[in-house]
Amino acid sequence: MEYILEMKNISKTFPGVKALDNVQLQVKPGEVHALMGENGAGKSTLMKILMGIYTKDEGGEILFDGKPYNPSNPKEAMDIGVAMIHQELNPILDMPVYENIFVGREIRRNGLVDKKAEIEESKRLIAECGLHVSPMELLRNLTVAQCQLIEIIKAISVNAKVIIMDEPTAAITDREVELLFGHIRRLREQGVAIIYISHRMDEIFNICDRISVYRDGTYIGTGETKDLDEPQLIKMMVGREITDVFPKAEAEIGEVVFEANHIVRADNKVKDVSISVRKGEILGIGGLVGAGRSELVEGIFGMHKLSQGEIIVKGKKVHVRSPRDIIKEGVALVTEDRKFTGLNLRGTVNDNIAMVAINKLLENGLYSKKKALAASKEYIEKLKIKTPSGDQIVGNLSGGNQQKVVIGKWLLNDPDIIILDEPTRGIDVGAKRDIYLLIGELVQQGKAVIMISSEIPELMGVCDRIAVMSEGVLSGELPRSEFSQEKIMTLASKIEV
Amino acid sequence: MKKKVMAILMAGILSAGLLAGCGSSSSSTSGSSDNAAAASTGAAAGGYKIALIQQHQTNAFQIGVSEAAEAKAKELGVDLTILSADQDAQKQISQIEQCVSEGYQAILFEPVDPDGLGDAAQAAADQGVVMINVISACTDWENHGISALSCGDNVTAGETEMQHVADLLGGKGKIAILTGPSGDAGGLQRLEGYENILKNYPDIEQVVEPADCQWDTAAAQGTVESWLSAYDLDAIVCENDGMAVGAGNAAGADSGIIITGVDGTPDGFEAIKDGRITGTVSQDGGAMAANGIEAACKLIDGETLENNTIITTNIWIDKENVADYE
């Protein structure tokens, strides 16, 4: 048996869209197999078919361990031996860790849940994973990274033969990534196949044995990782060559337009941080997950209470009680969590574009659908948003396109200072490049940009200056001439004694 | 912080509202306790301490009961406390227990549930309290320590109403019936009364099933509007005045359709006067309560009753005599 899993001639049609057209995938036991492709390439759809969430169109077949495989729901898929770690975690926040691990397949004794056995087993699994949390801890009290590892533990504990990992490292720190890779290697030795979906090239080349590439719902090809290099892979994914990954536009840097001084958050997650940005400048904020970067910008933006701090926009001191106060002054914030704080997923692209600057879409004082359509059309074109029309429900778009809608909604308000929190998280190479180009355009127009990112190469490629945070304080600042991976890492892991 | 203050404030406003709501049931009580205070000096000189526990106090009929009971108490020098069980049998049981421990000599009550209050009544009677049922009876009341029953008779009321309808129709015609909530004991008894009469009139035809309009005017109005566009009706017989008023509104004044109710409430009288409804059978709840208080006083004084079931008679009220009853 060469393949543990074979998907042949798989197609999937949604009303109006052919999401998959005759694609294939072959996975060998004991390999880490990367799925690559831009958002909308069909990777997620293919995996949802594998998990029984979608049914494939007639024709085509799936073989698991040589036998026909047609699960009708994720539970069935898991029982057969396919588990998935989703990109968007769905932990039950008010349940303890052990119950989260065993939810849906509780250990039973005499028909009742054997709590003791579950706790014991969880303890063992957690320890194996190198995590230091009690099985009794509520998920609510864990960090995003810890929740992610719990999810991974869950999949491992099902004894699955194929584990799908969708962007598993999106929200965890480098140290945790190393731990995760340790587990992946161990699983590989045990003969478990991992289907690994990620946009991070370094990870793909680090951990994966083979790579399958998809584009626009079609299958492009499969190759051994050792035979491929990054430019080749990018060419397969986007269908053309991308020479510079981080295009850097030249812009004239002017006076200081935005200052936040001595910011202290009421919950003490940010302690006395000061930053400023000039007209035409791109300020990067680096640091590890949990260093307080998002907390800083959300505090500045009035989403959380500050106990101290002064915010000066274009020379004017602004008292920020809610986001409204600072939006009025021409500041925009593209938040990290677009589903929770960025988008109305039930609304259309129009609705979302109109969310901030609806006043620009009025005719005789009334909301004009025509103007809204025109505006969303403009941003759909400008930002290359892939959507059938402005009337599409945003929840049906892919991650990268959703992110572009969030950006479009702010751009309509024509802000002078734009704060972007992890703007490229979970989106593909092509869309990332679109966003870098856009940032370049913005600073050329004389706007100021603050960008938070966990990817150091990205910060180094895009920014004029990088401020690095660690444990809620500013641990240092580097001008572009002094950028280096080592210096940024050192500042990021600086721990105050 | 601000939020907390607001939450507390809201709770405050709410509870103020609730208290005000409670006030409605206690207002009659306080009224009577004023009397009681005045009468309590007399009570020392052989006055009576009596409690009346009503099913609820949310309609004209029940308010009439409270008012008549207070008037009677004043007349007889009774220290009367009126409580409302708010349609809750459990609450009524606790109220009976409370009254026993507070030393009331007699308790008059309208059982929320005819089967659920027998034991509580028996327990109170065992403590030497005179127990009297008013308006409606507990099942097998004589064997639960209850000394007397002062009531109207729903079956008779139904019979009186339907007999008048039959007479007005000349024994022939198409009718429809509006009932209270399906399963309500009083409603079922009135329906029984209707059937007792209809047996004698084969030419009176019910063209639609009786409709459950929940004692509600608006519901009755909607149903009758619909009926009138599909059926020719000669009479609409309603189990209370509220629904009769609704039927009257749907048909319009002097429609030629005979519309009748039961209870004799002010809204019914108003509709009789302006011709929207034909007549009503008065269930004199006030008289039932007053008779009950009188019986209680006699029993406390050690006298015996001629008859321990005191029936308050029903009266037919129509345009002719409505002025006498307002």
Binding site: P15, G16, V17, K18, M303, S322, R324, I327, F340, T341, L343, N344, L345, R346, G347, D351, M355, V356, I358, N359, L362, L366, Y367, P388 | M6, A7, L9, M10, I13, L14, G17, L18, G21, G23, S24, T58, N59, A60, Q62, S182, V207, V208, E209, P210, A211, D216, T217, A218, G222, E225, S226, W227, S229, A230, V245, N249, T265, P266, D267, E270
Partner: protein
């Protein structure tokens, strides 16, 4: 080319699924007409309009609350309370406008209390409005001393009884409410923000929308319309009853849900609520004129509502 064909197929299907509830409504109307031709007489159509009016007005208030992500249990009590106030002030020779204004203010007041409790006090809408539902019912009983209020002026009674060009006055009020509400939701900045709040409250706040004010205002609108309903209700039944309008909130919620307003907020169209209101009125009216017994009516009404929504939801979910 292929894409275009698919798109066309989708449009027809999407259109059908979007307007499915309307199709169901038409089917029920045709069915009732066949079973009982008198259903479709002008007289009965007027009845249906009258019977739909008060619930329709309440449903439109409820729609604002539900679209913004809330829920209002208190409208039935508010109808009773404002109806009693209107009845007390509509007696004798008082100018009618006094009764109307009092009813509207009473409703508005209850609505604002609800809104403040939910938006500022952070109470779950269900709990907050359950509280006001009980308290306001108490107020209605208190103000009326538990008795029906009679003696309304002829002028007041005439409002609900009159009609313009054969259209009952009540329906005229409903149509005005429908027109204003549809306009506000679709055309004003405020309306779009109501949808944004219900779609994602956090995102709306981050986008600079004053979500507190929006949420308070939706409850205030529901209260105001409940006040109007109370005023009309008293005119229709010619008495003020403290026990009136029991569980009217359920009918209003049903009309919204049947009409495609999502209970999770952010989604809903005014025309859907119009169809929802008409659907439940037509069912009640139709069963009445068919002479179906009350017990069966309850069963049939419940089943039709669940089936209508089920078919609607299933039809839509096929799209994804």
């Amino acid at each position: 080319m292929k894409q275009d064909e698919l798109k066309k197929g989708k449009d027809a299907k999407a259109l059908l699924s979007e307007y499915f509830i309307f199709v169901i409504f038409i089917v029920i109307v045709i069915g009732l007409t066949i079973l009982k031709p008198s259903f479709i007489t002008p007289k009965n159509l007027v009845n249906i309009l009258k019977q739909a009016s008060i619930n329709g007005i309440l449903a439109f208030g409820m729609m604002f609350v539900i679209i913004s992500g809330g829920f209002d249990m208190s409208v039935g009590s508010t109808v009773a309370f404002s109806g009693i106030l209107a009845a007390l002030l509509g007696q004798g020779n008082n100018p009618l406008v006094l009764a109307l204004v009092a009813a509207l203010l009473a409703g508005l007041g209850v609505g604002i209390v609800n809104g403040v409790g939910v938006a500022v006090g952070d109470l779950p809408p269900f709990i907050m409005t359950l509280g006001t539902m009980t308290a306001v019912r108490g107020l209605a009983l208190l103000v009326s001393n538990g008795k029906p209020v009679i003696g309304m002026s002829e002028q007041y009674k005439a409002i609900a009884a009159s009609s313009i060009a054969g259209i009952p006055m009540l329906a005229v009020f409903l149509v005005i409410v429908i027109l204003i509400c549809s306009f506000v939701l679709a055309k004003t900045v405020y309306g779009r923000r109501v949808y944004a709040c219900g779609g994602n409250l956090q995102a709306a706040r981050v986008a600079g929308i004053n979500t507190t004010a929006i949420r308070i205002s939706t409850f205030a609108i529901a209260g105001l319309l409940a006040g109007l309903s109370g005023f009309l209700m008293t005119s229709r039944v010619t008495i003020g009853q403290p026990t009136a309008a029991e569980s009217y909130e359920m009918d209003a919620i049903t009309a919204c849900v049947v009409g495609g307003v999502s209970m999770t907020g952010g989604v809903g169209k005014p025309w859907g609520v119009v169809v929802g209101t008409l659907l439940i009125t037509v069912i009640a009216n139709g069963l009445d004129i068919l002479g179906v017994s009350s017990h069966w009516q309850k069963i049939v009404k419940g089943l039709i509502i669940v089936l209508a929504v089920l078919i609607d939801v299933k039809g839509k979910s096929k799209k994804d």
